[in-house]
Amino acid sequence: MKDDTLSATFQAVADPTRRTILARLAQGEATVQELAEPLPISQPAVSKHLKVLEKAGLIERRREAQRRWCRLQAGPLREIAVWATEYQRYWDESFERLDELLKKEKSARQ
């Protein structure tokens, strides 16, 4: 994978409003209006966030009559999910080994 794709994904999910939008879209397609409703920001501001998400490939937008729909594209999330699980695995496994070592150290002291 290219680094710039990953950076765009990171940048897109680094913002709490955009994470809220993604969480909403994880439940299913929604109109821009539906997405904007619970958010404490203006609709143009929401549109700006949607543009960032679209550019990162995280959402797809389409028009139907007067409505603008958004849908989640989970592909790029898959990429950051892989590093997240691996980074977590590295530390969890290290710390489990440290638990065992500490147990040995403690009993050696007693």
Partner: protein, 166 residues
Amino acid sequence: MHEVMKASQSTAKPASITTPNDTEIRIERTFEAPRDVVFRAYTDPQLLSQWMGPREYKMTIEQMDVHPGGRWHFTHIDTDGTEYGFHGEFREIVRPERIVQTWNFEGMPGESLQTALFHEHNGRTTVTSIVKFERKEHRDGMLASNMESGLNEGYDRLDELLRTVH
């Protein structure tokens, strides 16, 4: 992103890994031991090589000069014999409370500054590591590099994770 981080299933008490801002990674874990013992496990090369890294990796410590200005250098060797080198310099050693050290993953751009804080409470010790990069791209690049090693076995857990996302 915090949701993604909860993906680990390996232990009853996984480390908490979060990205508090653009340039940092924060790792926190509690251990059933007093902090002088935990501190020693972090600073004594004989102990460190017994726990740092995945089980299937071998670890060699080429240098570990634990005082301010002292250099450290270790290598992980995976099952294919591929070597991953790490090195840096200790900046602060406050026994048994605090270790500040620079950290380089050989072959990756960007040096990070890692601060490990040891807090004891009722005989248990919480270690909080804050890894700070100079630039956001370096942090993201370092995290991304973990992907390559995980492509084979990461997908099972990833599939489960994605079911919760999608």
